[in-house]
Symmetry: C2
């Protein structure tokens, strides 16, 4: 029983972990309907021109632009309407334009051969089989040119893109039904602690429900990874070793909770050290909460030893596991929504520690007010459920005075019920 | 064929739509594993105290705090260790503390009867069955009091909370296995356009793939709602009417694409008007892109007539459908990540229109540079895939000059491959 021999900074810890990883994540075909949140493993080359033909961007009349150059509101020019071009029509069925003629055309319809512009309907007047044009139109005006969105043979999306709904739209527009993406990472969750009962089980006095597992499961799913339940084990070295070995076989990343401190019963760091090389490489991080976080690498796979305290586990997950997921995929973290505001009270943090302070942001006539909730209390999830923001205080900062302007990142809408 | 008679502002349009809605969304039991992103339909009252008993927040020795008041590093006080309290142990099995005694205790273990504080192990030295205490400890220091996280009978989470992973943790800590949440909204997607082919189908010259449907499907899923495919129909009034009637029966919200302009073939607004009262209430919005957006309400349910152009459909969805989903659930929009930076070129927008300009943000030594990509080109999804941000220009702004500082919201990490 003693304190941590030496604390490592968050950045140094991440550097050490990343430097020891050796994972290669297979690539798989993913249908478009499953692509949101997935990461492209290669550039996608457009197999066709999008749009696949010159088409009208508006409703009006397809014309030869040179016919319209003298048109004015008082001296319109007159063209003979020789047909119609409707969306979905085959271009060969549409009459060909020559000087003096026009084709009535709808949005999305093919541009007739010979035409090089579309006059918007608002600048025309139809009189029987004639149309009056009140304004000149420049060459290719109101025409979506073949391939102007995505050109055949050119990259449509780049490797490393984490796909959003509009990427799905872009792929669909080129009639691409599946893409090569990295498979979802499998993240094992191992809970340790003799006092833990599973959610829904009967809980005797002295026992508590394992709240970290459902929370971590939710966090992992939110990141488009697959949670793998490695079970809950008592504080026994051999049981922990056995589950970690299983986890190394079937998962890409392992996350454990509990057993991170340096007490008699905190066996997970010891287990990770025994599992293989390099073993335990981080134990104790200069951060608050989540100081007792540990991390190891075995067979090139990371094992994160998170606190048994749920808020510390959450912060440890967001600081370490998130970053390593992005590192493995080659992606960047999603941007966080931030606000600046004035502290409603002094916020004392310890120099040398990166601190994550739960906070409540409220609007005021003079800008946002930011009330720090708790620096300690990493066992209290109510400190999260009562917060709509977090303040991250860097290692070189000693804290802030009441009224100081600080930045906070929002974890909920500011107006969410708290 | 003519222009829109009168454009309505985004805010007025939303007001009109919301004012006509009459939807009541049923409440259902949702297991914790499915709760992320769901909205609580009632306050959740904690059925138990969390933690359920006084427990130690650290490893050390449970003591009577008054025994320690004179302890100093040079004059430690000595207590007799009469037992151990381990996590998971039943409190009745733990020896009772009286003056002069201490119990070795682990993190999370029950506080023995009689004890009112825990001395951290770092401030002690064990010598056989005695322990030396080098520092006084205040009453209840290092003790997590029963119910201090969530008290029995008190609200644990509030109605209207859109649940995040830590809410799941909080519910689990009180052994709550399911909650009452609003059921997921069913959002129908009806595509209109004779030129449209479904993703994966053979596409003849003159036809295009329906890219909006897969994109909208992804948007709807991202918002934790259920997409319902109402099919793709040609530009025929009766077919559109039939599908809208079906949609009103089986969906809460309908979204259509195509058929929003005022041409001969744009029949959806007419269909919505025919369906019932109040029918079409918005047609043409002072915004760019997505000016031809329409909206109606029939049987209290909203129908959004989005553009056939995918970027306009996307913007229309985010401006109108998102807002109405939040309105129905009583939730607030998730905060957007924003940055401020200087424009790399002039950005001309039209006064009176709310404009959504795709942009590319890049870091520079003097701060972020923001390059507007396109104001027009709402048919070009490449204007989205090449963007990492959007600039929203309010109606009363005439645009910005090169070098002006503007705010943009990020739709991707700044460093994402574009």
């Amino acid at each position: 029983m003693s304190g941590f021999p030496e604390l490592i900074t968050v950045n140094k810890a991440l550097e050490k972990i990343k430097g020891s990883l050796n994972l290669s994540i297979e690539v798989e075909d993913v249908p478009l309907s499953e692509c949101v949140g997935r990461v492209l493993a290669e550039d996608v080359i457009s197999p066709i021109d999008v749009p696949p033909f010159d088409r009208s961007a508006v409703e009006g009349y397809a014309v030869l632009s040179s016919d319209t150059f003298s048109a004015t509101p008082t001296n319109p020019i007159e063209l003979t309407v020789i047909g119609k071009s409707e969306a979905g029509q085959e271009p060969s069925q549409i009459p060909q334009i020559s000087s003096g003629t026009a084709v009535e055309i709808f949005t999305g319809a093919p541009i007739p051969q010979g035409a090089d512009a579309v006059v918007m309907v608002e600048q025309t007047k139809r009189v029987g089989d004639k149309v009056l044009i009140y304004s000149p139109v420049a060459k290719w005006r109101n025409v979506s040119k073949q391939g102007e969105d995505f050109a055949k043979g050119k990259p449509l999306l780049l490797k490393g893109t984490r796909m959003k709904p509009w990427h799905i739209g872009a792929l669909a527009s080129a009639n691409i039904t599946k893409v090569k993406a990295y498979r979802k990472l499998r993240i094992g969750i191992l809970s340790t602690g003799s006092e833990l009962k599973e959610l829904g089980e009967e809980v005797k006095l002295g026992e508590i429900v394992n709240s970290s597992k459902p929370m971590l499961t939710a966090l992992i799913k939110e990141r488009n990874c697959i949670p793998v339940d490695l079970g809950t084990v008592e504080d026994e070295l051999n049981k922990i070793l056995e589950r970690l070995r299983l986890g190394l076989e079937i998962c890409d990343i392992i996350v454990t909770t509990g057993g991170t401190s340096l007490g008699e019963k905190d066996l997970t760091p010891e287990a990770v050290q025994k599992l293989g090389s390099p073993g335990l490489i981080v134990h104790g991080v200069a951060m608050r909460p989540a100081k007792p976080t540990g991390a190891g690498v075995v067979n090139g796979k990371p094992i994160f030893i998170l606190s048994g305290y749920p808020v510390a586990a959450l912060v440890g997950f967001e600081v370490f596991v998130d970053e390593v997921i992005n590192f493995i995929y080659g992606t960047k973290p999603e941007p966080k929504p931030k606000v600046r505001g004035r502290l409603t009270r002094k916020l004392a943090t310890q120099v040398g520690y990166r601190c994550f302070v739960r906070a409540r942001v409220t609007p005021s006539p003079s800008g946002y007010l930011i009330e720090p909730i708790k620096l300690t209390g990493s066992g209290l999830l109510s400190s999260m459920t009562k917060a709509n923001a977090m303040i991250m205080v860097e290692e070189n900062v000693e804290g802030f005075d009441e009224g100081d302007e600080v930045e906070a990142y929002l974890i909920q809408p500011i107006e969410a019920p708290l």
